[in-house]
Symmetry: C2
Amino acid sequence: MIESEANSNALDVSKALRAAGLQVTAQRLAVYEAVRSMPHAIADDICQAVRGELGVISRQAVYDSLNAMSEYGIIRRIQPAGSAARYEDRVDNHHHLACRQCGEVVDINCAVGKAPCLVAEHDHGYDIDEAEVIYWGVCPTCQSISNRDD
Amino acid sequence: MIESEANSNALDVSKALRAAGLQVTAQRLAVYEAVRSMPHAIADDICQAVRGELGVISRQAVYDSLNAMSEYGIIRRIQPAGSAARYEDRVDNHHHLACRQCGEVVDINCAVGKAPCLVAEHDHGYDIDEAEVIYWGVCPTCQSISNRDD
DNA sequence: CCCAATTCTTTACACTGTCAAGAATTGGGA
DNA sequence: TCCCAATTCTTGACAGTGTAAAGAATTGGG
């Protein structure tokens, strides 16, 4: 890992945390680093990764960090059906493509331009703030495995 | 409840079950009826409702029924972030609108016509078969509660 | 450097859902 | 109608994900 890169990133996160009124802790920085290095990972994977980095961290601290940072938009939580919550450092407007077979998730830009799906046909009086879109399909790898089985 | 209506519906479900190669059981019919009468309910609610109807049913039978019927498109499962799976009898193409505060889910038609969101900008080699869209916001009831708190 | 507020650790627990084994039911065929 | 194999249901155990609560440790402003 390039030391300066990790540092500069850690600096940004520190700022973001402070801006959100959150304290800067080694646990939170490490959790953020883990999310950044393995986007779409689930909490358990992140816990493992952080333990490799810090030695020890409680499961609860990982959840607290993920929740706090999600709440303030420092990271983003996505929750595909049939999977535990996944986390990513990319917080701009984009959607996801999930494999029905292996569960892999990749980022995908919005289908029809900037944010068209935010305009629902009929809002039922709701105050809508987000359109979450998940495309479901089969990834190339799983396709080739299926073909091999034929 | 209008007896004939329930019967005719039960008949349809029986046909659908048989067409799917599934056996027709009192449990499955009751589970379907529960889903039909309370769309977007979670498994536990359905379990309660069916117990009110049949007297007893195991939790496992409810899950088996829901899974089997979902798999064959007799009902549809949706899984909003932060909630257990929800089930509905409406199986045509439509999306959902969920309240961030109370979790209520309502049906909503696709924003831009027939099924535009199915066309992802870049498919990453995936074989895409569905675009799942969930709009997130605050329902009218929760809006008024928030206003009352001010 | 100190202290209050926040965060982390530890432990317990709730909820959602699945697995496995044996009992009961369904439904096609004699 | 009865029988039997396949399917489904019941029961009990269990795994994974996430939260609650209480006390210890850390953070950061004064």
